[in-house]
Subunit: 191 residues, 2 copies
DNA sequence: TTCTTTTCTTTACAAAAGTTAATGAGTTGA
DNA sequence: TCAACTCATTAACTTTTGTAAAGAAAAGAA
């Protein structure tokens, strides 16, 4: 149950056997079906999720349309961090794109865990840093690359997702319309 | 010298008098002139800067052109975080847009400080979280808003910078060309 | 299965931004 | 002071993307 979680942690902090046993008691396990909404836009994100199996999508809603902010794969932490960290209403929603198995920790439990296991603070700092670096990377791609280049990079890095996720969700993540994505794909097929 | 630094910290962590005195010894003071390069593209960022006075610009270079990634104001931490955190070559440069007064801490000193003052770990985590939230905010503006809307928001939030920073640097931050920014400004003047 | 919904692609047209180049105002520095 | 440079704006033209609508294929529900 916690195997891939501690595998994810091990390059970041070294927990003792006792640490691990304690940490496990602060998490709960949850299975959600495809299309299940974990965090609704406007609500406060009280939980963070480690994905054992499945796929979660973080999205904005604008003019009644969904715009993908990020797609989380298995063996990653996921959540509406912005809302979770500030404990303020979320401007993003989080939903399952596939039937998913999740490890869940609440905000309050995490704060308690910081006090019980100080190394959790280090883990949290490193995850926050990683997420920052990642956000920075995506942002730099928006700043530096054309939509076509962004598509190429996405395809190279996440080719498998193309079979698991509808293209219009990927298009909005790339900052373009499905129509434009279709044109780009056509352009690249017949160069 | 450290007044605005501890003022910045106080909502995040509460340092004791002894903490503060110790922390001060790990920083150094530096004055740099306008146009001074603090971190060159390709070098590893070994330092982080707290801006007592002045303005710093983080930028990418693509095809020989500068593209602004962020503009740091006084009373903020600044640096090429990506490079600093990973201690890997920077894909960004950092330069002074005005004569600036900086508090400087090195990577090694920061690691030592974590051990001496554990609360620094909490401060670092919270700063990383803030920076993540900020990157997220900028990214969501790229995803959700048109260039025209981004300009309006920038003007509303950072109107004072328009007098301190050349417009073409702001244009590249907004993801458009100076020509396009000029058109947008004209369009908004005569609606 | 059959029917409905979702997903993906295509077309034609409109709108916006990029590119290149020219102009003029304002600064900088020798 | 005067030449050189930087910066902002404008124009003409090209390229790209957005919008709206329609049809085909695939997936899901009754």
């Amino acid at each position: 149950m916690f195997q891939s979680f501690f595998q994810y942690c091990s390059p970041l902090v070294s927990f003792t056997r006792e640490d691990k046993q304690l940490i496990e008691t602060y998490f709960s396990f949850r299975q959600v079906p495809k299309k299940f909404t974990l965090i609704a836009n406007g609500k406060i994100a009280r939980e963070l999720y480690f994905i054992n199996k499945g796929l979660l999508r973080l999205y904005y809603t604008k003019d009644g349309e969904d715009i993908t902010a990020f797609i989380f794969r298995e063996h990653l932490f996921s959540g509406s961090y912005d809302s979770f960290l500030r404990q303020a209403p979320s401007i993003q929603g989080l939903e399952a794109l596939e039937d998913s198995d999740l490890l869940v920790i609440t905000y309050d439990n995490l704060q308690r865990l910081y006090k019980k296991v100080p190394k959790m603070e280090t883990l949290s700092r490193k995850i926050a840093e990683q997420r920052f670096i990642n956000a920075q990377l995506i942002l730099s791609s928006y700043i530096l690359d054309s939509p076509e280049e962004r598509w190429k990079k996405f395809e190279a890095a996440n080719g498998d997702l193309l079979l698991r996720v509808p293209h219009h969700m990927i298009a909005s993540f790339l900052g373009i319309t499905p129509v434009s994505l279709s044109r780009i794909r056509k352009r690249l097929q017949h160069p």
